[in-house]
Symmetry: C2
Subunit: 332 residues, 2 copies
DNA sequence: TTGTAAGCGTTATCAT
DNA sequence: ATGATAACGCTTACAA
């Protein structure tokens, strides 16, 4: 391994000068700069990032915590972050929290221990208070898909209420009046807000929320299948179904087939998230786009701006969902 | 930040003793050990991993390079690696290579510069020679989904030939004799081997490979749709189709619908990889399981064993694909 | 078993 | 503008 010493020796200058040109400090003469650059080139010198971190107490490393690494959602997020980061010579280290509180907390400690300059967190098990407290520590962090009033600056979230509204509004616009809803766990903020949006749309059309048309799932495929079964077996008929995410919608499509229902002719189905696989389904799923990649990039920009002091970056915290019309919904 | 100094002071022992108990060295008396542990506890001491890396020239960090972070495949891989690694206090840093040669090379340099103790590479743009040369460097690496004779120890790969064979063999067993094939880019090793497996199965049944029943796609959905269209428009009839991956199979299913074909009644379709979304499709896709998560974990074990000298780990390099029967195939 | 002291490869603070 | 020199927080001979 070639070190800064050897470069300085070959260039005939001191350590400090080499360090200065490495870090683009001003007040270095063209002459020494050239000598150093030449020596670096000749030795194929690569600075030791660990040593730089230790000396500068800046690791150029961002910690990322997500619930799960697999699944259709997080890949887009990571991919957005990785490209932004590597373009500026920084990198990320990634951990999974598995939506379990103690596991998430442990993972956050793990990342902080690794001297991450900042964190990007997609967590749902940890409490608001924990995060508010964490914000008093010395590691800045961005929160994705979460809204905490005390931490607005750090939060990058979707207008879930609007999303839920948009989904149901679309069905209403198509003439549906009996609209079932399969929710995520209402204990989760996003699931809850999407449901509120659904209710808002109903209200706008002077429709009352009917509990017989409601099923609380767990965001997984299977619960969509189970949900639609329960709904179909209930007394209350419906011509459309809005689901709080695409997985459950896909499960619902399967469940509908078990009842020999034709989609969308017999029942329109809406998803939420616009996961890549929605295009693979038959019929292709109408859904609500969740711009997760943009959000992840924005969180990265926020860190670039606030931690690494890059300017020229405008930050937005609230993201707008959009309606994606495909084949699974039709007018009545 | 509390350092080892403060711990040693509070415990009333030297730096080295603290370091020794941190690293579980033998030859430390119960007494000092307890004092140190107590002091650590009291100060909530967390060792500075950067400093440890620098002093020990071991970063406890594995670099991971994949083609893309999104898509149905890599999440499982990363998830397998992350859990194995964090369980032993190590971590990973992740980069994407985008199947572009210079980009992959740059990413590898990037990871090596970060002092990764080892790498896990899922690369397809970089040449065998490059990797053989890389193996002479000081950073050990594991290769996933690739087989290089000179580097057999480092390679963790699927028996793609067997997979291709299994897929077509299943179709043959079901009575099909006119079997079309949609391949990946044959310039890619895995695509090529899967095709060979297909041909082997045909041969076993005394069938000749028919070029009119062959289409070379690019592993993406769209090419499956285009492929089956071309095939259906050709003169040669077929009752079954084997695809070199699930994306193309899903595209083919869509393409078949454009021709009002019923699957599997009019045409059986096989996929390859067993991506999670194959269960969401209708009908659910029969496919070949690619145990990517196991393979990633095995690569991690290999590193644990060879780089970190953990014993009790048996390493296997070749993985066996298995047939997953679902709804998209039926006997004739 | 324990402590001393010399690194690890940088950055950063001073002088000059 | 440049160069000594002291950190950065830890590991690891080597000595005791």
């Amino acid at each position: 391994m070639t070190t800064i010493y050897q470069v300085s020796e070959l260039a005939g200058v001191s350590l400090s000068s080499v360090s200065r040109v490495m870090n683009n400090h001003q007040h270095v003469s063209e002459n020494t700069k050239n000598k150093v650059l030449a020596a670096m080139e000749q030795l194929d010198y690569r600075p030791n990032e660990t040593a730089r971190s230790l000396a500068s107490s800046c690791s150029n490393c961002i910690g990322i915590l997500v619930s799960e690494l697999h699944g259709p959602f997080y890949g887009d997020m990571l991919s957005g972050i990785e490209s932004e980061l590597r373009a500026v010579g920084k990198h990320s280290i990634i951990a999974a929290g598995h939506s379990d509180e103690s596991s998430e907390i442990e993972a956050i400690r793990f990342l902080i221990d690794r001297n991450c300059d900042a964190l990007i967190l997609l967590v749902d098990a940890v409490s608001d208070d924990y995060l508010i407290n964490l914000s008093k520590g010395s590691t800045p962090f961005a929160l994705i898909n979460r809204q905490i009033p005390e931490l607005t600056e750090n939060c990058f979230y979707l207008d879930n209420k609007l999303g839920g509204y948009l989904a149901t509004k679309h069905l209403l616009d198509q003439g549906h009046r009996e609209i079932a809803y399969i929710s995520g766990p209402i204990s989760k903020q996003d699931a809850n807000e999407r449901l509120i949006g659904h209710k808002n749309a109903l209200t706008e059309f002077n429709l009352e929320f009917n509990n017989d048309l409601f099923f609380e799932g767990d965001f997984l495929t299977k619960s969509g299948q189970i949900g639609i079964k329960k709904l179909l077996e209930g007394k209350q008929k419906f011509t459309a179904l809005s689901c709080a995410n695409d997985e459950m919608a896909s499960g619902a499509m399967r469940g509908a087939r078990d009842f020999n229902l034709d989609i969308p002719a017999d029942c329109s189905i809406m998803g939420f998230d616009n996961a890549f696989f929605t295009e693979y389904l038959y019929p292709q799923l109408s859904t609500i786009d969740y711009p997760i990649k943009n959000m992840a990039q924005m969180a990265t920009h926020w860190i670039l701006k606030n931690v690494y002091k890059k300017s020229n970056l405008t930050i937005e915290n609230l993201f707008t969902p959009t309606l994606i019309l495909r084949e699974s919904t039709t007018s009545i």
